[in-house]
Amino acid sequence: MEKIYAKDQDRCKLIKAKPQTVKFLLDYSKSLRITEIQGIKFEGNIN
């Protein structure tokens, strides 16, 4: 039977971001602080 699917079937696979990436994002979120001074929002990271 002739192949009628995409040449690169690998592109269709389901993947997930690594747990390390998720952990980084959660840590980033915890460390991010937004301070508003005179209507201007400043970002800061607390380690």
């Binding site: 592109r11 389901l14 993947i15 997930k16 971001a17 994002l25 959660l26 979120s29 915890k30 991010l32």
Partner: protein, 193 residues
């Protein structure tokens, strides 16, 4: 339990300071967003990078209070990911990367044997730590070790300069190394590059 909580409620909770809600949101949509990115870029590490950048934008927008609940969360995140994918292709078309084939890698020819700045800093740190450790040694051992390692003198030259036999110089060197190792172990010092 996770499935019962609506995205919009999780977002509200997250904006109010509940970090756990973000974890649920990321894990809930991880596969769909990652697979979407991967289907466009076809590279695992670039997918990870774009996924990370996408959520960094999400986090910043939510924390700044700039998120409007007009649309749904997932399509909004997908739009951010889509824009970042476009940025990625724009950048790579401006700066095409040549990785080389398995049999030939251009970087093996043009590689630089100098230490990069990070490795140089580590090396300098190790050198200075080692100097401090050597200063802890007894004077006779320190003398032999310094002559051998820093002045590159032979044991014959060391024995002539210090007025001891070659065997004594060898013995002092041996004890100097044993004592250095002992100091390193006792103080849990890591000297690696």
């Amino acid at each position: 339990m996770d499935l019962q909580i609506d995205d919009s409620l999780l977002i509200r909770n997250y904006i109010s300071g509940d970090e756990k809600s973000l974890e649920i949101l990321i894990n809930r949509h991880n596969q769909r967003i990652s697979s979407f990115i991967y289907s466009k870029v076809n590279d695992r590490s670039i997918t990870e990078d774009i996924f990370q950048d996408t959520f960094i934008k999400v986090i910043r927008t939510l924390k700044k209070g700039s998120y409007s609940e007009e649309g749904k969360f997932l399509p909004w995140v997908m739009r951010i990911a889509h824009n970042l994918i476009i940025d990625h292709f724009r950048k790579s078309s401006r700066m095409p990367m040549y990785g080389g084939a398995d049999s030939f890698n251009i970087f093996s020819l043009i590689g630089d044997d100098k230490l990069n700045i990070e490795k140089q800093i580590i090396k300098d740190q190790i050198d200075s730590d080692l100097t401090l450790l050597i200063n802890e040694l007894p004077e006779d051992q320190k003398e032999v070790l310094t002559m051998r390692m820093y002045r590159d003198m032979s044991f014959k030259e060391i024995s002539e300069n210090t007025g001891v036999s070659i065997n004594t110089a060898l013995g002092r060197m041996r004890y100097a190394l044993i004592n250095l190792r002992k100091i390193i172990e006792e103080n849990n010092i890591v000297l690696t590059n």
